[in-house]
Symmetry: C2
Subunit: 187 residues, 2 copies
């Protein structure tokens, strides 16, 4: 961030009075521009013991498999976001179940939230950001071709709960060392 979105003035990174963290503050109009984590919301949708996955047609992770999910929009609820993303990415209509799995991804300022859901029919199809959609049973799941660690964690939690016969709400974090300026992981 270089400029103020309100007045177009230059912003400076400084700790405002009474605050404890550096913020982008406009030198002209004084507006403080806060930056906060984003929610990524999606569905783990079942159809007769199988799970709906989407193969990504966009970067990052082009060609790898994911649960239908995406950035929550202003003006909607988390459950509305989950339904919308499932429709957009997999053209799939679901009955939403409970929130199932929350994964923090602090090194990229994201929180991922997945709902359990039940497909209403099998008329799903690839959306604009998807190469193909398919149902997978647990033993056929492409574990080594999953796009995101949060998807792997959510699916593992789901199959563990299903085996135990009791679904609970899960929370976890992905902890990764920040990368140095040369792109290599720090020690």
């Amino acid at each position: 961030m270089q400029f103020c979105s309100q007045c177009g003035g230059r912003v400076t990174l400084l700790v405002p009075e009474g605050d404890s963290l550096p913020r982008h503050v406009c030198q002209a109009c004084g507006t403080i521009h806060y930056q906060n984590p984003k929610l990524v919301v999606g569905c783990l949708a079942e159809w007769r013991e199988q799970i709906l996955l989407c193969r990504r047609s966009i970067d990052p992770r082009y060609g790898l498999w994911t649960l239908p999910a995406g950035f929550m929009e202003n003006g909607e609820s988390t459950s509305q976001a989950a339904l919308r993303e499932t429709l957009e990415e997999a053209c799939a209509r679901v009955e939403l179940g409970p929130a199932f799995c929350l994964i923090n991804v602090p090194h990229i300022n994201q929180v991922h939230l997945f709902y359990r859901a039940r497909l209403l029919d099998t008329r799903f199809a690839a959306g604009a950001e998807t190469l193909e959609t398919a149902l997978f049973s647990e033993d056929a799941l492409p574990w080594h071709e999953l796009a995101f660690q949060s998807v792997t964690m959510c699916l593992r939690a789901y199959f563990a709960d299903r085996l135990s016969g009791r679904f609970t709400f899960h929370e976890d974090s992905i902890v990764r060392a920040p990368r140095a300026a040369n792109g290599r992981p720090r020690d």
Copy 2:
């Protein structure tokens, strides 16, 4: 938003190609500025059947009671945010329990998330945004002086679960008609 935070150029509200919602797009450099909901995270901290509340020393809702909570920061997890806000607002140290209650507040583009927690000691005190802190039993709770509807909903869910002897994860939404430009609720 009037100006591009990257280059200082003018932004226009339009639906980018392949998108379905209007975004602020820079007419000079083409950057698309997405705006997304923010997470507010806090604690429902117990001490021997009592709950810790904070009386707000800032607007909005100056003088009313709330659970310690605030905007999640970049680079932290939801549980780290809950611990930090509880320390900042109530100078209280807690042992965090599970995520307990998620309340969508779509008309102000927020998602509120409260954890259950256990106070480690009673050496709490008013932080910078708090007039006073106090412990309340269920029958002494200032129900008519609570600052936010999400706090009321979380506390109601907590006491209902405590009565039933079984705590589960709760999710709800606050649905409010958008206000017209004159500040009055729409029909």
